[in-house]
Amino acid sequence: MQRYFSRKLIIYALTFFLAVTIDWMIPRFMPGDPIRNMLTRVSVSSNPSAIQMMYDYYTHLFGLDLPLWQQYLNFWNSLLHGDIGISTYLFPTPVTDVLWRAVPYDIFLLVPAILLSWYAGNKFGAFAARSKWLDNTISPLGYILTATPYMWLGILLAWFFGIVWGIFPIAGAYSFNMQPHLSWAFIGSIFHHWFLPFASLFLVGFGGWAIGMRNMIIYELEADYSHYLEALGAPRKLIRQYAFRNGILPQITGLALQLGVIVAGALVTEVVFSYPGIGYLLLAAIQNQDYFLIQGCFLFIIIGVLLSNFIIDIVYVLVDPRTRRGMTGESA
């Protein structure tokens, strides 16, 4: 078990290292000059020498005039001190502050959406595997849901419930005319705004998990241990119960593998509903060419995904006796 975790941790450490390196490399090796772009955007002055001065100033400020390896080490150094720069678009707020403001919204949106869709999808998928009739009605629904692009489902929900029926707001995290404070009205407003983005993330995920579980159950019901139980006259209920329990294990691993897709879904969903999480922030950063903010968003996303992966690993070990008793179940 110790080996299982040390192996995982090595992978995560390497992933983090690679991600940071990518994060550092991209603005430097892509065609185009980020500082020039930034200056043209904010163009305060049309005086070429003034622009050149600002250019030099910023180049020096961001350390872009140093040798590459120095830049790279500096990047790590400031990163480890929790400093990932200052947002140019929300100047002069440090990027970390900007991101910390967005993170609660992401947690509030993603955690329930991921967990509930996973739970409900698995239950529903197991239910679908019960009979051919159920299977034929539930499975197509699952396939349609999982094939739907997140933003389109978001758009449809926003249109139906926000515009046509007008029962849910379609933008922001709370009413524009409210200030954050602790009151029932405000909390109500938070949930009111939360519901549609949550629903669109939930539904797409739900379809995928339901399909996955349905296939797992059918596979498990054909396993030798199921046949043995049948031969000993065990009731269907017990056999299904075992199949569900064993089928859920790969679904846990599947959750870890799906995180990237779910994060992508969350990004666009936040964009559709102008929900002030990291996805929305990232879009704003891209549109305003705020490179430090882009880098910061990327880092936060990576850290979030790695943490979630680690939590899932721990849960997996707790649930699968095979890993606990010294055997490595899933390899990495």
Binding site: T15, P27, M30, P31, A147, P149, L267, I301
Partner: protein, 286 residues
């Protein structure tokens, strides 16, 4: 004679499988629209043809017109082309890299496998879209082609993982040893002994990669990081949302592109299940 029989059996299942029938007809329908797009589209996609601006579908403009009076149908069929292109090239590249990495890791084993496996797991953990976003953000000019390349370059890990596992189980089969004892070189063994046995698997991998590439491209386009010089279904959705089609009730603008993507990707998934049933006799319904 017997081979004929075997082929026929396969064909029989392929044609009889309802999931394959449904999936394939949907794909062929949209593919047809995409291929004949230049004939079907009666207007330039971005031309402001309807001076009255947005209008619901009519006999003149089948899918209505946009806020600016552009022909939605023309954008739609041409956007389909981009969708299929992304699926084919992006999905194809993803499959190709996955195949190369998977074959190498699975066949060579040992330290090569350890390293490739580690690389695969690392890339698997990094959220693809986040990487694509920042790459796209720094590119000033983006074409559908570059989009395809980057999607392909980031989508391969799970394919590599799956193919590695398959190769691993095949390479321990005795016929591989027999091929070695016939003096065959490793590369030849991989391509003439192992790969043909995995054909069904490779096809299914490609189908899933195809669908995944389409969804990824739609997301990129929607965020505004799609091709800067072309029309695509994701871009249509982006413009629709950007120009208030929700508030103004221009449903004909945002429904067709999303519906087409859902239909195509859903059809691909369903086809995949159908193929699995055909290839895997255990799943065939009696």
């Amino acid at each position: 004679m017997k081979k004929q029989k075997k082929k026929n059996e396969f064909l029989y299942f392929t044609l009889r499988n309802r999931k394959l029938q449904i999936g394939l007809s949907i794909i062929l329908f949209f593919l047809g629209l995409a291929i004949f797009a230049p004939v079907l589209a009666r207007n330039e996609p971005f031309a402001y043809v309807n001076l009255r601006g947005a209008q619901p579908p009519s006999s003149e403009y089948w899918f209505g017109t946009t806020f600016f009076g552009q022909d939605v149908f023309a954008q739609f069929v041409l956007g389909l082309r981009a969708t299929f292109l992304v699926g084919a090239i992006g999905g194809g590249l993803g499959t190709l890299i996955g195949v190369l990495v998977g074959f190498t890791a699975g066949y060579r084993g040992g330290i090569v496998d350890e390293l490739l496996n580690m690389l695969t797991n690392i890339v698997l953990v990094i959220p693809t879209l986040a990487v694509l976003l920042i790459i796209a953000a720094y590119l000033e000019v983006r074409s559908i082609f570059t989009e395809c390349i980057f999607i392909g370059l980031t989508a391969w890990p799970w394919a590599a993982r799956a193919i590695r596992a398959q190769t691993f189980s095949l390479r321990t089969r005795d016929f591989v040893d027999l091929a070695k004892m016939s003096g065959m070189k490793p590369l030849k063994i991989i391509f003439t002994e192992i790969a043909p046995n995995m054909m069904s698997y490779l096809v299914m991998t490609f189908i899933l990669q195809f669908g995944g590439a389409i969804l990824n491209a739609a997301t990129l386009d929607f965020i505004g990081l799609g091709p800067t010089n072309a029309v695509s279904l994701g871009l249509m959705m982006q413009y629709a949302v950007l120009w208030g089609s929700l508030l103004l009730g221009h449903w004909w603008w945002f429904i067709p592109p999303g519906a087409a993507i859902t239909a195509i990707v859903g059809a691909l998934y369903v086809m995949n299940v159908g193929l699995d049933e055909v290839f895997n006799p255990k799943l065939r319904e009696m």
